[in-house]
């Protein structure tokens, strides 16, 4: 642990170097970054909220409380509530399998996990139409048994799962790879069972990465447009998620209502970011605490 402390020392030396850059360079860089952020992030965000309230607070709340909007919010939350836990389970198992074991076809599995990042969401949606549509592979069978997948809630959930598939696994794999298997091996030689090893050794060490993955996964699940649009059928009050609802309102010239719904989504994103920074802050604090404790022990 002495290494960690001296590391810290070295880093602070670097920081002093950076600070000693000429005044103009320093502030020039900061200004460029700030102007860029303002232009591309802050101003559009403000515009969303301004437009949302452009017809007054009453219109804002009326358009959020409107039954179709409410149904869209509920469907969005439902899709996320199913997709995120499933992808957490999948992500942990996949990351575990890839980093703690050696097996044939590992690279293929890693590539497959990345697939949803690589294909366009529209293609993702069409895959399900080809599979479950009336004229698709499973369509006739589903029709006979009166099971509806696409143009209904299951299709939307499936499409959401597909596009959010890699987030947790992608977050965990590098982390677990870095950590290696030595702690788990130690636990096993000390007589812990597989589950015990997972709960008491692996999970605590990956919890920050996991939380971060869950947050990203959730943000995408709520915001997904393309794939969901293809399988939705756009039935108002039934198969419209919040992003689809926004598009509909915009196309109906209800700009204030559209931006009110958009501000809900933007709000969700802001909350997500706030939670993320809070977690990061906690994470850093935890680490420092651990480092201090270790230093004291020495």
């Amino acid at each position: 642990m002495a290494g960690a402390v001296s590391n810290l020392g070295r880093r602070s030396a670097n920081i002093t170097d950076a600070v000693s850059e000429p005044f103009l360079v320093r502030w020039g860089l900061i200004a460029v970054a700030l102007i860029f952020l303002a232009l591309f992030l802050v101003i559009p965000l403000i515009a969303v909220f301004k437009e949302a309230f452009s017809k007054g607070v009453e219109v804002y709340f009326a358009s959020i409380r409107e039954p179709d909007a409410w149904a869209a919010v509920k469907l969005t939350l439902l899709a996320a509530a199913i997709a995120v836990p499933l992808n957490v389970i999948f992500g942990i198992s996949a990351a575990w399998a890839i980093t703690k074991f050696r097996f044939r076809g590992k690279q293929v599995l890693i590539t497959l996990i990345d697939l949803p990042f690589a294909v366009s969401p529209v293609v993702a949606g069409l895959i399900y139409v080809l599979l479950f549509g009336t004229k698709g592979w499973l369509g006739p069978w589903l029709g006979e048994h009166d099971i509806k997948i696409i143009f209904a809630v299951p299709g939307i959930v499936l499409a959401t799962i597909f596009v959010t598939f890699p987030f947790v696994a992608r977050e965990l794999i590098p982390l677990m790879e870095e950590q290696g298997t030595s702690y788990e091996e130690a636990a096993l030689t000390l007589g812990a069972s597989g589950w015990q090893t997972f709960w008491k050794v692996t999970l605590p060490s990956i919890k920050w990465g996991l939380l971060y993955g869950i947050i990203l996964c959730n943000a995408r699940a709520m915001g997904e447009f393309g794939a969901v649009s293809v399988v939705s059928g756009h039935i108002r009050g039934q198969t419209n998620t919040l992003p689809l609802h926004i598009e509909i309102l915009y196309n109906e010239y209800q700009f204030a209502a559209a931006f009110a719904a958009a501000s809900l989504l933007a709000g969700l994103a802001l909350v997500t970011l706030a939670v993320k920074s809070f977690l990061e802050w906690q994470h850093v604090r935890d680490r420092e605490k651990a480092a201090r404790a270790a230093a004291q022990q020495e």
Binding site: V129, F132, G133, T134, K135, G136, G139, G143, D146, K148, I150, F151, G233, H234, I235, R236, G237, Q238, I248, Y250, N251, E252, Y253
Partner: protein, 336 residues
């Protein structure tokens, strides 16, 4: 004692179940899959029909709507979107329900009066306030330097009507199909961007302020005035246009499965009733009923209208000739 309470709770349970089953049977659901510009029309019409059905059949009905580009919506129904009725932009898209999936009989269009089109519309021009480019008729659209906004005829029903209206005009004015082809090719050279649907084009023209003239459904043109403020735009009626008949039909396979044939048929018939026709007129669709149409005659100007059947030999023929892959549109249009 225990037995008694079990019996009692069972009784309550059965009563509850039958009660909920009864109320279930009382309520019926309809799904109307429609095209883009009918959003406002059906929002109003559905309310009227719910009241009408409650009164005449003493049954509660909820009508759900789905809107999008006409061709895309037909595709969704073919892929399994469980529409009880479809109300699309043109007959060809409904023909596809028969061709691709046999969801309806081949003679669907003769089942209701007026080619199954309870209301009609036509294609007009929308220009900016004061008509700065002095656009009066189709000939003005092919002049150099004029920007024409119209959606993509491959994906939008309205755009196909636009294209055919231009063709019909040029054929009448210049005498032959070759001349018409040249004319339409010139017109599409003046189109800076092809949106995929009518609503997208409306937004391009009215919201993003692109282009000098917008080829539009008549109802959409009036709606622009209503939504974006009277006086900002002007509607120009050309010397000749096309009679657009947006047809409707029950989707037989789906209503049989859902047990909704009766209410679905009543829904479409209600479109032909005086009340339905009034609602169509109020939403800027031309009513078929002569009496109701007379009421709205001050809104809808008289236009010389040609029909797709006499001018182009019906939708199937027009579709293969003009809009299929490698058809005339593909030959004359190069994206800029």
């Amino acid at each position: 004692m225990l037995l008694k309470s079990v019996k009692k709770s069972l009784l309550v349970l059965t009563l509850g179940l039958t009660a909920s089953a009864a109320s279930w049977a009382q309520e019926v659901k309809l799904l109307n899959v429609s095209y883009d510009p009918t959003r406002e029309l059906y929002a109003e019409f559905n309310k009227a029909f719910v009241a009408h059905w409650q009164k005449t059949a003493n049954q509660k009905v909820t009508v759900s709507q789905s809107h999008g580009g006409s061709g895309k919506q037909a595709r969704s129904v073919i892929d399994g979107l469980a529409a009880d009725v479809v109300t699309l932009a043109l007959a060809y898209d409904i023909d596809a329900l028969y061709d691709e999936a046999k969801l309806i009989p081949e003679n669907w269009q003769s089942r209701l009066p007026n080619n199954s089109s309870p209301y009609t519309s036509t294609i007009v021009f929308v220009v900016r306030k004061g008509n700065p480019k002095n656009i009066k008729d189709w000939d003005d659209l092919v002049k150099p330097g004029i920007q024409v906004i119209t959606p993509n005829p491959k994906t939008s029903g309205g755009a196909r009507w636009n294209y055919l209206a231009a063709w019909a005009y040029a054929k009448k004015a210049y005498g032959s199909d070759e001349k018409a082809r040249e004319f339409v090719a010139k017109l599409y050279k003046n189109v800076p961007v092809l949106d995929s649907g009518a609503r997208g084009s409306t937004t391009t023209f009215a919201q993003r302020q692109l282009g000098d003239v917008f080829l539009s459904w008549e109802n959409e043109a009036f709606l622009i005035e209503k939504e974006f403020g009277v006086g900002k735009f002007e509607v120009i009626v050309p010397s000749l246009s096309i009679l657009a008949e947006p047809p409707v039909t029950v989707v037989d396979k789906n209503v049989e499965k859902n047990g909704t044939r009766k209410v679905a048929e009543a829904y479409l018939n209600f479109l032909y009733s005086k009340e339905g026709q009034e609602i169509a007129g109020k939403n800027f669709y031309r009513p078929r009923d002569p009496e109701v149409a007379a009421k709205f005659s001050n809104i809808f100007p008289e236009v010389k209208l040609v029909t797709i059947d006499e001018e182009f030999g019906g939708w199937r023929k027009a579709q293969t000739e003009h809009f299929s892959d490698g058809g005339i549109f593909d030959q004359i249009y190069q994206p800029q």
